[in-house]
Symmetry: C2
Subunit: 415 residues, 2 copies
Amino acid sequence: MHRVVIIGGGFAGLNAAQLLKHADAEVTLIDKRNFHLFQPLLYQVATGALSPGEIAAPLRYVLNRQKNTRVLLGEVSDLDAGEVVLKDGSRVPYDTLIVATGATHHYFGHPEWATLAPGLKSVEDATEIRTRILLAFERAEKETDPAERQANLTFVVVGGGPTGVELAGALGEISRDTLKKDFRHINPADAKIFLIEGEPRLLPSYPPKLSKSAEESLTKLGVQTRNSSRVTEIDKDGVTVKTGDKTNPIRTRTVLWAAGVQASPLGKLLESKAGAKLDKSGRVLVEPDLSIAGRPEILVVGDLAAVPKVPGVAPAAIQQGRYAAKLVIARLRNEKTKPFHYHDKGSLATIGRNQAVAEIGSFQFSGILAWLAWLFIHLLYIVGFQNRALIALQWAFGYLTYNRGARLITGQYKT
Amino acid sequence: MHRVVIIGGGFAGLNAAQLLKHADAEVTLIDKRNFHLFQPLLYQVATGALSPGEIAAPLRYVLNRQKNTRVLLGEVSDLDAGEVVLKDGSRVPYDTLIVATGATHHYFGHPEWATLAPGLKSVEDATEIRTRILLAFERAEKETDPAERQANLTFVVVGGGPTGVELAGALGEISRDTLKKDFRHINPADAKIFLIEGEPRLLPSYPPKLSKSAEESLTKLGVQTRNSSRVTEIDKDGVTVKTGDKTNPIRTRTVLWAAGVQASPLGKLLESKAGAKLDKSGRVLVEPDLSIAGRPEILVVGDLAAVPKVPGVAPAAIQQGRYAAKLVIARLRNEKTKPFHYHDKGSLATIGRNQAVAEIGSFQFSGILAWLAWLFIHLLYIVGFQNRALIALQWAFGYLTYNRGARLITGQYKT
């Protein structure tokens, strides 16, 4: 039996596995986490609107009726001839390898910023960011020094892509609505939220019209945008922002990182062990059929793959994962295959209550219609009916009450 | 204005604060966590049925409409004349002090067992236990040595009170139902679950008839009970259980602690700073009005208070918290007060699907009726309408699908 090994249970890997359900193949899905994470909603965990369990689905559960598929919890440490080597030393042989390990943050040569400005990739990142945001308000409430109080009430989001825009918007809502009546000594609406973007406009991959709408909506929520700007320094007292020739320090206790994408370390492994070529972000350059040049049995899908004109978004990962599965099936049947073709379904980003921007086909729109489209599409794509119902319910409550029920300060912290 | 300071936002402290809503007093609620935790359902977080956010309510949100009340995130480090001193050095003056800091685990003189056998008091405990349980199955799936595989498939719960019974029952369900189809190399139903209780029967504080029902239901779920037994050793290879003169080793990789209660360290502080007397568990002996002898302005409520014939359960804590608030109000009005009287509403413990034991008034019953009573009462007492709806929804899904949607392996772990 043909053995397909998939590394990574994100959008690309999970979709590949699911489409191989009826394939004449033994499928092994390897992931270092035991769950699939619906990353587009991770910022809602970071801002206390949802709980981690609600945007995650156990991989074993999702695939448990798929008789030809097994799930392995493990981290890949090496690739050998026709075998994947795991950290625990075990080896998993393959005939076809699908690598879908995605990407992580990139601090532009400043790895020391990682602890000062956490990024948002894992559930642990999200609960850490949640704790930092909520603790900042708590410290402000107790602080008597006005400058230090304002530093605690200042939030800097680095990166004006969809994640940065959604995080900044959520921070605007938290300070203006959610926490409105919660404190006695501070007014949470005094919070200053800065959104720093290197390009001349937010959401640079979106049409200019939508960038403008997003900027206007964010401004209404109290977010101050700094376009054509970059962060040159981060330390425990704040960040230094450079706009043109001007350098401005911002005193803050909370910096969140939503910029820079770096491919997973599997890219480098594919370079050294399978002769793959990488682009400057470490992504793997692939052939039109998503395989590595000269290694047709190794396919790279999702954010780890560098495919011209294909953005690093969930729909692209899903399409690539499904393409890889179909390719495997076609090869097993000795059928011809077409190159991968990305079908751009559009772009969506939510800013806050009733506010989002959308590009679907040739339609560009913003406001409540875009917001409803965002709600609908996200509910549609989340894995599992149970999560769908839970999230819909929380959103309904949140909409009616302005509350965010999952705002827990957890983990290690000092009061 | 009379200043009431409440330490602890559990059942006792939160109920005291809420009843002081219309009191002619300034109320300060101090807690080291920013949320109230519905502890009776914590075992459901530990076993992947619910998410932490669903059994927690932000204290600020719960109290935000209560104008005379403020919430302080902080940990108490000392008590001074008429002042509570926090770790950050700030001081909170009081006229009446209500101490409601509860209890924690007690390892019977073996503090080194704490990391080997985590107890279940905080959300961090619950997610840690969840990770340990799920990882044990993952390791078993990969293990080739039969003895080591069985060690991973063996779970020991120490303590046969309500928490231990509920944990063991949930482990039975996880291995028999939830994970049924999830693995390819192991049969999760091969899991051995031991429940160790020092007294001759489980649930020693319940009527003997219900102990028997609980034991029977647990046996059906595959749980092996060891009554009149105690754990004499725990190390990384397992536990040693002593029953009478016999000593039996159990090889296991997962030991959960549900025995031994020790009062919070505030008890000792009250002893040294307010002349309180403590019982052998460190609980504070109180006067009939829950005050400390000779210190009428200091009230102790909830699990920290040693009140004859009052068990350490949520309803008792709620009643004591409410009593303390009424006492404060009566004193402010110069009205006479009656001693605290515990109204025993009964006992409930769930074992699994359709299985619970209940004593309500003079009725003792078990089975599906007790289970429905358990569901209903827990939904009734949980704080917040939103949490109630979320939990009801998850329970409905869990009942229909046998799934536990929140089974995430999180935090630090080795694959």
